[in-house]
Amino acid sequence: MKLITAIVKPHRIDDVKEALESFGITGMTVSEASGFGRQRGHSEVYRGAEYVVDFVPKIRLEILVEDVDAGPVVDAVVTASRTGRIGDGKVWVTPVEDVVRVRTGEKGEEAL
């Protein structure tokens, strides 16, 4: 099993969700995140005083999938979240040892 973690632009989240639903993914965890990449943050001006805001708002997406689905799901997320402009985000894949569905106690791929 794999954990796919994606950091995407907030306004792309609906497209990513639709792409994953059409792929047959049954669940995901979404949280608000903030951070920066190579482009750093942005600047704001208040009465002539300029502030650099390092942390840009992002959405963090977490999806547990079977090993075989990992590649296509990553592709789906990347395609749906790409705008081609700086700050589009990152997707990475982590191996997962075990998963338990809390309600039933099912383990492993049964629990996905």
Binding site: E44, V45, Y46, R47, G48, A49, E50, Y51, V53
Partner: protein, 447 residues
């Protein structure tokens, strides 16, 4: 003197007084939005605190010190003459005392609102960091020693009025309070910012506004209330009030453009905070001039005010004083400009209208005298309070937030970690009522 009641005038002045009173809660929103989340309540409470204290002292001795006819050297009215509004409500025969067809008690209501907003304006210079008790004592002392004497000198027939020594040059013009309100408050703000000292993190940490829509709403309420401030100062439901109303609008519109133009050129963006600030700068500048300039003249007056104030707000970073919300940059600078601009733009006596330099000279004199008097009085009050009650809250309290440490409240509950759901209720401070028939109800449910 008009001896019969002018109901139209009275109605208009009651409306105007109500409008001006609305400005202070408006100012609380304007200032409250400009501070950080952790100090919004304290910022607003300084405005409400000014209302509380000044509203009380005004009826006791403020009215008398401002307008009592037995003047002490042209500087202040005798506080005992009308102490507690004695002889200011009804006369010996039980009739309401009239002045120009207006009940004097209505004028008291109108004037107290000016005293309140002037003190509240000062609080913007000392955001996030001062003891609330010291602020309340300051409000009482400063209104007594700085505001009431200034009101007497300018409006009460004192030194800076048409009856004073400078009137020999030309009659000084301060229609609705350029010197009494804005120069006075702006100078006091500068003095307090220096005496109190900077906020922790000033110049290095991000101290940006937490809620700009609140600032915009506050600016809108200030503008609305300012119609009472300026048009009400005509003391008539008449053409002068109409002229003041229009000038108040046109100068303010031009000031928004002036401020935004400076921002666009200097910073690359026309900002909402700039628009809200331009509103206030325009309103301040037109205040002394509202009755003596033409609407076209007010456009020039307002545009310059907006641009000047936009440039002036950067001074605090260059000079190192923490005038947190730019009371100096907006009120002192625009107040000085408006007072002096009358010398150029007054339609009868201004330099640009062929009136010579006399009006300009007298306007500069009254502005300078107001600056000096206000500075001296405020320095004394600020230093006395510094060495007695103390101005600053502790560094820990400041960094954790003055709302929590001073008022035991927080402005917002966003429902996240630390929201009441995960906080234990420690009980009410008073007696807690026992739930009626709790035991019986429970047993019925169980059965």
């Amino acid at each position: 003197m008009e001896t019969t009641l002018d109901t139209g005038l009275t109605a208009w002045m009651l409306v105007s007084a109500s409008l001006v009173l609305l400005m202070t809660p408006g100012l609380a929103l304007f200032y409250g939005g400009m501070v950080r989340t952790k100090s919004v309540l304290n910022m607003m409470m300084m405005s409400y605190g000014a209302m509380a204290v000044v509203g009380v002292v005004y009826v006791l001795w403020g009215w008398s010190m401002s307008y009592a006819s037995d003047s002490v050297g042209g500087i202040v009215g005798n506080p005992l003459t009308h102490f507690g509004l004695a002889d200011s409500i009804t006369d010996a025969s039980g009739e309401f005392v009239l002045d120009g067809g207006l009940p004097v008690i209505v004028d008291v209501g109108f004037q107290v609102t000016f005293a309140i907003i002037t003190v509240a304006l000062i609080s913007g210079a000392i955001a996030d960091r001062v003891r609330f008790g010291t602020w309340l004592v300051f409000a009482g002392l400063w209104s007594t020693l700085a505001y009431f004497p200034m009101a007497h000198m300018v409006w009460g027939g004192g030194l800076l009025s048409a009856d004073g020594p400078f009137a020999g040059i030309a009659e000084p013009i301060d229609f609705a309070g350029g010197t009494v309100v804005h120069i006075n408050a702006g100078v006091a703000a500068l003095v307090l910012a220096v005496v109190v000292g900077r906020r922790a993190g000033f110049g290095s940490v991000v101290l940006r506004p937490h809620n700009l829509p609140l600032v915009m709403l506050g600016a809108a309420l200030l503008w609305f209330g300012w119609f009472g401030f300026n048009a009400g100062s005509a003391y008539g439901a008449n053409g002068v009030a109409g002229l003041a109303w229009v000038n108040t609008t046109t100068a303010t519109c031009a000031a928004i453009l002036g401020w935004l133009l400076v921002e666009k050129i200097r910073d690359g963006h026309a900002t909402s905070l700039g628009a809200a600030s331009g509103i206030v700068a325009g309103l301040v500048a037109v205040t002394p001039a509202a009755g003596s300039v033409s609407p076209v003249g007010s456009l020039a007056l307002g545009a310059v005010a907006g641009a000047l104030s936009a440039l002036a707000v950067g001074l605090k970073f260059r000079l190192g004083y923490d005038d947190s919300l730019d009371v100096v940059g907006v009120h002192l600078v625009a107040g000085l400009w408006g007072t002096v601009a009358i010398g150029f733009l007054a339609t009868e006596t201004g330099l640009l209208y062929g009136g010579g330099v006399a009006q300009l000279v007298v306007q500069v004199i009254i502005a300078l005298v107001a600056v000096i008097i206000s500075a001296l009085v405020t320095i004394v009050i600020a230093l006395v309070l510094k060495h007695t009650m103390g101005w600053r809250i502790s560094e820990d309290d400041e960094s954790s937030g003055i709302d929590a440490s001073t008022h035991a409240e927080s402005g917002y509950d966003f429902g996240g970690l630390g929201a009441p759901r995960s906080t234990a209720f420690l009980g009410a401070s008073g007696p807690v009522p026992t739930p009626v028939a709790a035991a019986g109800t429970t047993s019925e449910v169980r059965s």
